[in-house]
Amino acid sequence: MASNTSHGSEGGLALDPMHQFEISRIIPINIGGLDVSFTNSSLWMVLTVIAVSALLLLGGKRIVPGRLQSVGEIIYEFISNMVRDTMGDEGRKFFPFILTLFCFILGANMLGLFTLPVVLHPFTVTSHIIVTFALAATVWLGATVYGFYKNGLGYLKLFAPSGTPMVMLPLLVPIEIISYLSRPVSLSVRLFANMMAGHTMLKVFAAFVVALGWAGVVPLAVMVGFTGLEFLVAFLQAFIFAILSCMYINDAMHPSH
């Protein structure tokens, strides 16, 4: 990103809005032919965890909260309310999981928007579908396993809504199964597509700023707006991911559609 925006005016514009998504190995590690290198993606995951932990742990425990503590408390209460609204009191035990999930996604989304031009190239972990799919698949598999653990085979009732005529079942069950299988796909695609589209758009507009010279003020103004919008999207996608996870876990607890 730094090469596109700040140094681009030196001629020979390297206009590659997708460059930001490239994975590069920082510490190559190879275990038994398996490439488990520490990449820039891993680095930003670690940074995300550090940033989020710092926010929640270093905020302090004062009765009158400071700024950092306030942010932590707002996040905590927000997720706490969401868990109660979607899953009821039974869902309390999933609160730590949902809070972690939300904080990690929010942190990853947000960190990708900050930039330290020369030192570190910003990288948005959640703009890679494999990362979001891993998160979504974890939620989905977990919910499925919990559903069978909690309800036994009764969990299969999820695929046959009550009150359906027998004639309709052969048609409805495949539809329900595909609908169920599509959950992790839609969950991961939504987050990944939002993050990737937004970041690509920002970079494309950033290239316009440089390429248009004086008239670049116009795309620059648009960029400011878009960046604000990106912060909104970053929050919103983390929120949607978390609330849908809540709903899926709720379905696992009460499989009666």
């Binding site: 809504p161 595909i178 609908s179 796909v185 839609s186 695609v189 919103l236 009460h254």
Partner: protein, 118 residues
């Protein structure tokens, strides 16, 4: 509180409670429109992915079955339509569970969920 000193009288506490409630209502009022607006954006995208994901999964299953059973187009065609149906069902569910105004928050609690959607 104040059991030993008796200073805060019940009336005063009640008045304080009323004021707190009023303040809470204003806070809620203030934050509501913004939240709904921002949710509408995510809501639109949510419906799209919900629809597309089901079709993708359907086509994937169909394609896989065809490859496995060597029955070239038939399972693909069948599961494409099943996938579309599942996608429409997903979208229908989303609109049902949100009340259609774009707010993602689900109004029906688990206790009353049984007879709500079929």
């Amino acid at each position: 509180m104040g059991g030993d000193r008796n200073r805060p009288s019940p009336e005063r506490l009640e008045k304080l409670g009323d004021r707190l409630k009023k303040a809470q209502v204003t806070v809620d009022e203030r934050s509501r429109p913004r939240q709904r607006q921002s949710n509408a954006l995510g809501f639109a995208f949510r419906i799209t992915t919900e629809l597309v994901a089901a079709v993708v999964v359907g086509v994937g299953i169909g394609w896989g079955l065809d490859k496995w059973l060597d029955s070239k187009p038939w399972f693909l065609i069948l599961f494409f339509f099943v996938g579309v149906a599942a996608g429409v069902m997903n979208v229908y569910r989303v609109t049902q569970s949100t009340g259609g105004d774009g707010s993602v928050r689900r109004s029906d609690l688990p206790s009353v969920k049984e007879d709500d959607d079929d």
